[in-house]
Homo-oligomer: 329 residues x 2
DNA sequence: TTGTAGGCGTTATCAT
DNA sequence: ATGATAACGCCTACAA
């Protein structure tokens, strides 16, 4: 394996000089820089990231903390796109990343978790899908051990950024379009998790809409569960003229219930998952670019790790209707 | 950060002794071993895996090479379960893992790829979904730079193991059940990728079945594409009394086509993805435990990295019918 | 059985 | 601007 030592010898300079060139330090003459770069080229040298990580607490290794929904695989596509977006961007930025799942730390204390991350030389983390009652993760984010980016929760602080779409506005938009287009006035809203940040925002959006349009609304918590949405729809669906759901999965559950009940009600969802194209009926939904959001999160984490302060970032979204022939290939 | 040095001091022994205990070397007295373990406990010591990886070429870091289908997200669940199964098992076995996607190396040479992996101190790789024409990966597996486990391809050798279900038998089984149950005799077989190992095996299974049951069969390559399966079914479906598909996604494409054509034909798929529960009609399919297969692959890789030779492992599968009410929660 | 010391490939602090 | 050199935390001959 060709190491920095070989490069130094080949270029006729000291190891430390090579290191300076590699990490673009200021005080290197253009001439030496040229020689070193040439040697790097000729030897096909690629720095060993493990050694770099050991040597410097700077060179950030990043951990992805993914909350996999244990109950259904139907929304795995979201998680995988998060992972993909982050890893691709990390490679571009030359950051090492390891992927971890919430479930691995269920029975662990925050201290154990911190120890584990440190044992991996992790200096930055990206968290996907934290909820209000995840005290362990809250603690992780609040502490100053790591820089962190939280996707989908408003936890920005000095060394934490948060990245998400404007859930309140998005929920408002998609519901309004559905309700206006179908001339509705009494809406059944199936909300998300009680302790979820996004769910809370979305509810706010609905409440604003209800106020503005003077609607009648019944809110029931579907807990992001397709089954619960189905049951709620079976119980209340008939009495309302629109069903607004806080997630696509719940929208699908609601739609399937309505089909079984043999009544029609406009239904809208949230997320824009591919599955929406398979259920037969078209529904309005909010499309998020999960891979893009995740890439943004990675960039933001790099910014944090380079000493900048946390900030609150809102990413764009769009309203779509997905039909089967659009998604197959 | 508490290091091995602290443990040594706390236990009143030398650093190397602690290391020996940690890595369960033979020549350590029970008494010292006890003292060291006690110190480890008391200090909550967790070895730094980065330092370990740097120091010894033994301590294996593992790379997951995942072939993400760029065209559809509908089968992302398979990839994510692979990833999850591998990472969970790796944590259990105390192996570090990094996740990579084929797409990252599209325009790279095998040498570049090898250099990259070495720069990450990777000593073992698991490859998911390699096909016959992936020359780069073939080379990687054939070389002796890394130990490797290939999931879904028969590439076992001295330092490569292969892990997969018996695709020929599974295809035979699921097709037979579908055909016998529905009393069919003329079957349209929509096969997978021409250059895929699994696809080839599956075709063998079909041919065996055709011979045994004296069936009439037309084989068309659907390339694992839902759209192609749809088109093939539209063209040939009516003339046959059963449609056997080499993947669930194609089965769904076929089924949707039949529904649109308003004719009924029994259809069977392969993989057991959740999506099968959403399409309305129940179909037979082969259920694979992707997370389990991946965990097995990780165990196998550890075996290889500890010096053992590669082997060919077949994992179990089962025949299932998935219906909507089974999969929601 | 235990300890000493050199090395893994970098980065970073100091002299020069 | 450049180059020694000491870390980083751990592993592993080799010596004691």
């Amino acid at each position: 394996m060709v190491s920095i030592k070989d490069v130094a010898r080949h270029a006729g300079v000291a190891i430390s000089t090579v290191s300076k060139v590699l990490n673009s330090y200021p005080n290197v003459s253009d001439e030496t820089r040229g020689r070193v770069n040439k040697a790097v080229e000729e030897l096909n040298f690629l720095p060993n990231s493990v050694a770099a990580a050991l040597s410097s607490k700077q060179a950030g290794r990043v951990a992805l903390l993914v909350n996999l929904n244990s109950k259904t695989q139907a929304i795995d596509e979201i998680s995988l796109q998060y992972i993909q977006g982050a890893i691709n961007k990390a490679m571009e930025l030359n950051l090492d990343v390891i992927t971890l799942f919430f479930s691995m730390f269920q029975d662990k204390t925050p201290e154990q978790m911190i120890r584990y991350l440190k044992s991996q030389s992790i200096s930055g983390i990206i968290i996907y899908g934290v909820s209000k009652e995840d005290k362990m993760l809250q603690e992780l984010v609040a502490g100053s051990e790591f820089k962190s980016v939280v996707v989908g929760a408003p936890l920005a602080s000095k060394n934490t950024s948060s990245v998400w779409i404007d859930h309140a506005k998005a929920q408002y938009d998609v519901a309004k379009r559905t309700i206006v287009d179908n001339n509705c006035s009494r809406v059944l809203y199936i909300s998300g998790k009680k302790d979820g940040y996004a769910a809370e925002e979305q509810l706010k959006g609905m409440e604003k809409l209800v106020g503005e349009m003077n609607l009648e609304m019944l809110t029931r918590c579907g807990d992001f569960s397709e089954l619960q949405a189905r049951n709620i729809t079976m119980e209340y669906g008939e009495s309302f003229d629109a069903v607004v759901c806080a997630s696509d999965l719940m929208a699908i559950g609601a739609m399937k219930a309505l089909t079984e009940m043999d009544i029609f009600r406009p239904v809208c969802g949230f997320d824009g998952i591919i599955l929406m194209g398979y259920v037969g009926k078209q529904m309005n939904t909010v499309r998020q670019n999960f891979a893009g959001i995740s890439a943004t999160a990675m960039e933001e984490l790099q910014r944090l790790m380079s000493g900048k302060e946390g900030e609150d970032i809102r990413t764009p979204y769009s309203l779509v209707r997905m039909k089967y022939t659009d998604i197959i290939c």
